[in-house]
Symmetry: C2
Subunit: 453 residues, 2 copies
């Protein structure tokens, strides 16, 4: 990662810097507003889970180019010295309205709006998209696995296959917000206070000449918290050995906690392993399964009656393998009080500052949303999802505890009707554009067309 | 990202720590060897491009738990105080043999072998897989786009959609090794000395009331290096405006460098935009295209005759969207001089220390590889791909210059026959197992089966 001398301010696309010089040089320095939204659902998605806001706010609070940053920028020979001096003094002085992390939202809805001098809000684009895109993808994916798991325990196991150390840590956090029990990633446990879980690897077993000896050695170190991995040579033979060692542990006053299956036909093996354990009077030893788990595999196994108590969820969920990207965008919607938009083919934007209003049915379930013009003069007609979280470059709320974000998500997810949670071909939630926003959109579009004619 | 007080040593799965305590407590502390290899090709892949070694070596050289790491590990209440003292003093004292970054390799071939006290080599598993997996995925993907681009200029544009800041930086580096001209990511430019490129965003255009005015403002700031984005309202109308401003620039002694297309039917639009520019006597203004680019789209456009001089390659390549993960594994192959393996269904490993030998045909092209037992007593029969890079915890070679890795890759890629480079359904390169490795494998398997019987 970046050394101490490089700041996150320089994590930006070169065009953000070149545009900023051109804004600055041309006097185009008024206040602007940018909206971050997701244009379309990735495959099989019917909702998104907002995540990434905490990192965005920390970034904006700390925004400041270091001398090393400036030296590198100077070395590109694209920028004027006076502009580099301007960058040296630049801080983020604007405001942010956003949906809290853990909020469920839908396409076209701004999940975050940034306002401030156009240069400040422009330079932040790359980092803001990077973090909200990644963390929303991961939280959304994790929520799908949670839904498929029907209350079974889930542990995030993807540290090794996430796209880097940073992505692994943010994955652990996103999965915890979405209801996972914890993670195998010790760094994430320390950074975020997430419970950590672990079993053993095949290497531990093969380091011993004898599988039973490897289990015994592990049990001596962890007499009350052992999970034995049973598939190194043969899953059912390994389960019988685990049962033997489990009974030895009981003689010494301890209990084996679980076995882990990691390959083969998990449906068949889980049922047979469960029977072996039950026959050995080890009915409380849990069967844990890992290897290729995602919402589709978890659903398949549980639907078919697999005897699995918990899942280690790794690679496929850790990179959101079926949907590793979105088309989220951060677009200028207002400059100097004038609503703006682009008309690019299939990439139109909604002009002006906006609010998202949620309406519920008589039982409290989400019924529909309305994207409206932001109007601070009138109380919103529904539940307003965008909340002020930063003003004049300073947070207006203390950072929420992770446990509270987890509760936010759980509360929201319980109120999302099940048709939108389907892991395949979910229903499309009703998101309406308010009349006044539609009219604004038509007016601004007509103005652009007039100027082009 | 991790604060200063957290070290990369704690980026590990909890089971690496629990196994290490059990190794330590049971006296299972002899030397071990782990092989890192990729079991299968992701869809449409016929080779891999090795990357990630530099980060692995830096991690191993710096390996040391911080006091904050240890305080967190203690807080899990799983570990003994004496073991925490052991961790405090732990450094990586082993060796690494590896293929240089930029090397082309194939399934089952160890790209890296780590040897040392089993506890040290075990704890490093998570970080090593994390980095080699990610960077190899990204370098391989980038090489496919390079192949499809037939010499056209490629710039990596995915900073905003990569999975985090770290992944974005490592993507820029991997793409540069694979032959991209550079990146839009300024932080990566500064960290690695990669050339940076930038154009302008739609927000710059919409911040001005008039598209021509926005181009003029940008050209005043960048009179000789401007690329105008032309699709904000209408691509061909925008191209005509760009041409007008380009001619104004010429009157002032400057030249417009390029236009950028970012939406719509790129084939049709590129040809029409080229004609508009040519008709305006702007034949040297380049047409640059971005938006949804990957090897498949670049190939489709160039095959169909698109008038595109260069591509901004973003999201789909930046997350390797069609193959965002691999099944790479880091497996114990030797403990205390005894070859080891696992027999898990579909996840068998090759026992013992290994070497990969490359054989070429009479014209120098890659013909086949042989995975052999590592045998330091005899000169290898072919070109040995695994080289010693670390001994007793210290690098044996200076870190290579990025420019040299780029040359390594270019040299290798030129010698890979084209059938293995096909972006769809490539041929399968011939990777053989030597007779002595086959015999070792059979002997070790038979030994395991005997013990299980």
């Amino acid at each position: 990662m970046a050394g101490n001398s490089i700041s996150n301010a320089i994590f930006t696309d070169l065009y953000e810097l070149t545009m900023t010089q051109a804004y600055w040089q041309s006097g185009t320095t008024a206040n602007a507003r940018f909206s971050l939204f997701f244009r379309t659902y990735p495959p099989d998605r019917g909702y998104f889970v907002a995540a990434g806001l905490e990192d965005v706010l920390s970034y904006l609070e700390d925004f400041c180019f270091s001398e090393d940053d400036l030296a590198y920028i100077r070395s590109t020979a694209l920028f004027q010295d006076a502009f580099l001096d301007f960058l040296r003094d630049l801080r983020f002085t604007g405001g942010v309205r956003a949906m809290p992390e853990g909020t469920i939202f839908f396409t076209d809805e701004p999940v975050l709006e940034v306002e401030g001098p156009v240069m400040e809000a422009q330079l932040a684009e790359t980092f803001i998209i990077n973090q909200v895109n990644l963390q929303t993808i991961l939280a959304t994916k994790a929520s799908r696995v949670l839904h498929a798991a029907r209350g079974k325990t889930l542990v995030e196991f993807a540290a090794r296959r996430a796209h880097g150390v940073e992505a692994a840590n943010k994955l652990a956090r996103a999965a915890y917000i979405a209801g996972f029990a914890g993670t195998s990633n010790v760094m994430a446990g320390g950074l975020y206070g997430i419970p950590t879980f672990g079993t053993m690897a095949h290497s531990f077993i093969t380091a011993f000449e004898d599988e039973a000896e490897s289990f015994r050695a592990y049990a001596r170190s962890f007499p009350d918290t052992s999970t034995f991995l049973v598939d190194t040579y043969d899953t059912l033979a390994g389960t019988r050995i685990a049962a033997e060692v489990g009974l030895e542990m009981r003689e010494q006053g301890h209990e084996l906690r679980a076995i882990r299956l990691d390959s083969g036909d998990m449906l068949d093996l889980s049922i047979k392993a469960r029977a072996i354990l039950d026959d050995a009077d080890l009915g409380k030893v849990l069967v844990f399964a890992s290897g290729g788990m995602d919402e589709f595999e978890v659903d398949r196994l549980l639907t078919a009656g697999a005897a699995i108590d918990g899942f280690g969820v790794g690679t496929k969920a850790g990179v959101s393998a079926d949907a590793p990207w979105t088309d989220c965008a951060y677009k200028l919607v207002e400059y100097d009080g004038r609503p703006t938009l682009k008309l690019s083919t299939d990439k139109q934007t909604l002009a002006g500052p906006k609010q998202v209003l949620r309406y519920r049915d008589s039982q409290g379930y989400f019924d529909h949303d309305v994207i409206d013009c932001a109007d601070e003069s009138a109380p919103p007609a529904g539940e307003a999802l965008l909340q002020p979280v930063m003003e004049k470059g300073v947070r207006t709320l203390d950072p929420p505890a992770l446990a509270d974000l987890r509760k936010t998500f759980a509360g929201e997810f319980a109120l999302l009707p099940s048709e939108y949670k389907s892991i395949k071909s979910p229903g499309r939630f009703d998101v309406q554009i308010s009349d006044r926003l539609s009219k604004l959109q038509a007016d601004v579009t007509a103005g652009v067309r007039r100027r082009m004619a």
